[in-house]
Symmetry: C2
Subunit: 229 residues, 2 copies
Amino acid sequence: MNELLRALPLDEEATHAHTGAWVASVLRTRIAEGRLRPGSKLSEQSLAQALGVSRNTLREAFTVLGNELILTRIPNRGVFVASPGMDDVREIYAVRRMIEPAALQWGPELNVPGLERIVKRARAALASGKIEAMADANQRFHEEVVRASGSAQLQELMTRVLAQMRLVFHAMSDAPDFHSHYVELNASLVDLLRAGERDQAAQALRGYLDTAETELLAHLKDRMAADGS
Amino acid sequence: MNELLRALPLDEEATHAHTGAWVASVLRTRIAEGRLRPGSKLSEQSLAQALGVSRNTLREAFTVLGNELILTRIPNRGVFVASPGMDDVREIYAVRRMIEPAALQWGPELNVPGLERIVKRARAALASGKIEAMADANQRFHEEVVRASGSAQLQELMTRVLAQMRLVFHAMSDAPDFHSHYVELNASLVDLLRAGERDQAAQALRGYLDTAETELLAHLKDRMAADGS
DNA sequence: CGAGGAAAGATTGTTGAACAATCTTTGATT
DNA sequence: AATCAAAGATTGTTCAACAATCTTTCCTCG
């Protein structure tokens, strides 16, 4: 239980304006980094003390992160870091399969050079073996795709969904490298886009997302069977 | 200022479990009904007293509705019912132009009979002059379209966006009847879908959304010019 | 008479303590 | 060992207080 406290070194300062939002962002970061593992219980009293805020303010942050599906709130039981299951993965890909191809096909602010730059960075990271940076670039790629939609709300939804994806990966620490062989697939998407074949790019992306989902689901199924034994 | 209190007759009972969420839903309903007009200031003290909850609980509801963009929070100034402007309308249609056609074209749970039923109801409401019910059916139609995506998060986003749309209409009480001539356009969409022409349906919907946006923006522009004089 | 600005008043942001309701653990009993 | 009640801990909610900030009032000065 004291792991919680060690995981929160309080690097930043309290901004004294909108403390609730600040607490939310701290927790968001800690969860994204994997320092708070899926399933962990977040005790109000301990956390409030560790963060140096009141229980009320902490609760405001819980409300925000609960809406983002990063935290799971069980009434009278407490809040936990969400640990997404197979249904959640299906939901995540249902979202992505809609908005990412739509942005590629119809997005009014498609930025092909920006995508090229990200692919380049991903390739460099992959070549130098920095899988952390590579996964990061991969995420940036898909965020940039949705940015083409020109909608801040869709972009925010995509950010949320990618945060949930990170939770999925953190939930299975023995994950094989799902990201690296998507670098070249993303590159081929950029090729299609540069040629102006937006319909084909959207179609291809749908295919990639389909296979990614089935791969993930298969691995998750094995994982859960392993847990059961 | 006492208008606020009169607008909140407290029909329902407090459920004593998750009061914050209950307060949020009460305010959501009041705003959707137009009893709390865009731009109104919601004073914490008055509202908390009127609703019979503490300021802290009310604040939790404010956090939720602020994330839904139904309330605008200005630090140290207070919270106001959002009054969407032209940029917000553009954002709304940027979202709709992505997710609605995507759901029509690719949604795995497209329910054409359900859409037919809604169109039928809309026609009946239009014929009997109940524009209230007709606007409601129109909204249902677009919610059902997004339901085809099979994603709860996309559906929630659509519900949020439609709530913002209602705010736009409430902001201009002199709105002409934007809805009624879309009943037949929705019907023609259903015709295309029944014929299995999902691509064409998506394309057509994009067109409808484009014209709806430009009409709305034009009217809003006039409205704002009228306000300025 | 009007503009500027300081002081008073009101509102928001945040905290701490308190209490009821609910869950969890403990321990006694059978 | 299983059952159940009491004790303990945690969450849900409220209240009261205070600092920070905004708004209004009113006074002074040009």
